[in-house]
Subunit: 318 residues, 2 copies
Amino acid sequence: MEQLYIGADIGGTTVKLAFIKDDGSIVEKWEIPTNTESEGKSIPTDISQSIDEKLKERNIHKEAIMGIGAGAPGFVDTSSGFIHEAVNIGWKNFDFGSHLEELTGFPVWVDNDANLAALGENWLGAGKGCTELIAVTLGTGVGGGIIANGNVLNGANGTAAELGHVTVVPVGGVPCNCGKTGCLETVSSATGIVRKAKEIARSYPDSLLQTLLKNGELTAKDVFDAADDGDEAAEKVIHEVTDVLGMAIANMAIAINPEKIVVGGGVSKAGTQLLAPLEKAYRKYALKRTAEASNFGIAELGNDAGVIGGAYLVKKNK
Amino acid sequence: MEQLYIGADIGGTTVKLAFIKDDGSIVEKWEIPTNTESEGKSIPTDISQSIDEKLKERNIHKEAIMGIGAGAPGFVDTSSGFIHEAVNIGWKNFDFGSHLEELTGFPVWVDNDANLAALGENWLGAGKGCTELIAVTLGTGVGGGIIANGNVLNGANGTAAELGHVTVVPVGGVPCNCGKTGCLETVSSATGIVRKAKEIARSYPDSLLQTLLKNGELTAKDVFDAADDGDEAAEKVIHEVTDVLGMAIANMAIAINPEKIVVGGGVSKAGTQLLAPLEKAYRKYALKRTAEASNFGIAELGNDAGVIGGAYLVKKNK
């Protein structure tokens, strides 16, 4: 009987689930809606029932399942699977791991979703086999995951690797959702890029950026497209954003000394248009020897990173 | 027969050596001069001979020795004990660990000296028992050591935790010995504090700082003493230095999420005069939940941190 791992990636809208083989290949993946009503209390039952149905449908014996690796966007006590807080889900002091174990009868490991995505990339993606890895996710916000000595860093209370909340503008920075000001997330998220574009476009009345802004809403992708068309204002936005991000990653690299830096999330679709200036800035701010050890790559697993990381969490701990 | 560990802390001037019991108590400690001639090639022999003599003198059987844990100021491959570079000692691509193993017949583990000091504080000092710890040494330069998931971070090529080289002044910073500009070391080392004091004193012609400067050389200690006497210029220096240091530590804490931050080195003798404003700045720049998990302490083991950390390195790996 072939061993299988279950990966579960719990987001604010859907829960992604997958049966995954020992070599990381996905046997089946599916999604269920995330029911955030009543502080998300039905989620463990929803997951358990959906897994049961799928096991029956595929005629898979329960004995084949080695365990569940689950990720959630919040502060997780990885030793117990207890969730201190996961705002988008509605959980607060929720004993998710034990609950899911009881319901399914499978052993359950839980971690932060960004950490699991890093672990997924570490197993089968752009950071394959690296003992030291920094993963950065550039989307609406900025997320992070760190692998050091071959293991995910969770920290003393589940807030390790929150790269989006490194302070990059010590004085006069934009307010961040976390309550601080001048966080990296305010600069190099998709939202931050658009904010910077609006700011810079004001000084470039004839720029493509300014024209786009007059015609409606601007996206981070528009900024990269405009830069690709040679728009000076857009190039300036990308230069400034990657300079700050490169410094923040370099400073984190000084703690971790990574072999690989994996960049994912929506903004990473810009590819080398993002990576080239980012790597240049990184090498300017990193210690020479630290920079020599590391290279950059775009995340490879896309939306599957979480469930694959979940499977790997089981594989590593089993 | 009681088991003993040997700690060796190799500095540019002396090698500190100690026999240490399983509970961390020091049976005997002594020093030998560091012979940096001919690229420091005699150092392994010097250490080996000195240990042999001391074992005879104390009538200790070789079988009682569990191994040697050695620290050196440089980039170390901890898996092999190979030193990529240790400028102050003269070593470059020096196979120190294997060499010392052959000479002594004892198993040898090697790590960076700042990492061993962090490990020492983690075993018996201010960071006792912490799974996550950041140690900062404020002396002529700024050194760092990190414990995460209970283990020292060494990184991909031995440059992890080089906290002194985090960039804190992105534009127009002072040149650092490492070749970059605006490193933390240029701001919050003893040297950096004196530089800042000279800069600020110019705007305070009637200050105690200015008077001290006219009378001769100023030290970091003078700045803390002047602040203690209520000198406004000196207070401003301490405020600015601790603000930058607090932000750099907060940003590193966002990677590590430490339980404890241990501050050592000559500058740490200022005690709460340093720690109070430092902790205030840290809490301003750290994520709220990260700050809640952590507190500050002054390093407790002084010059013994290295040899005690060395002993613990053996104890952990044995």
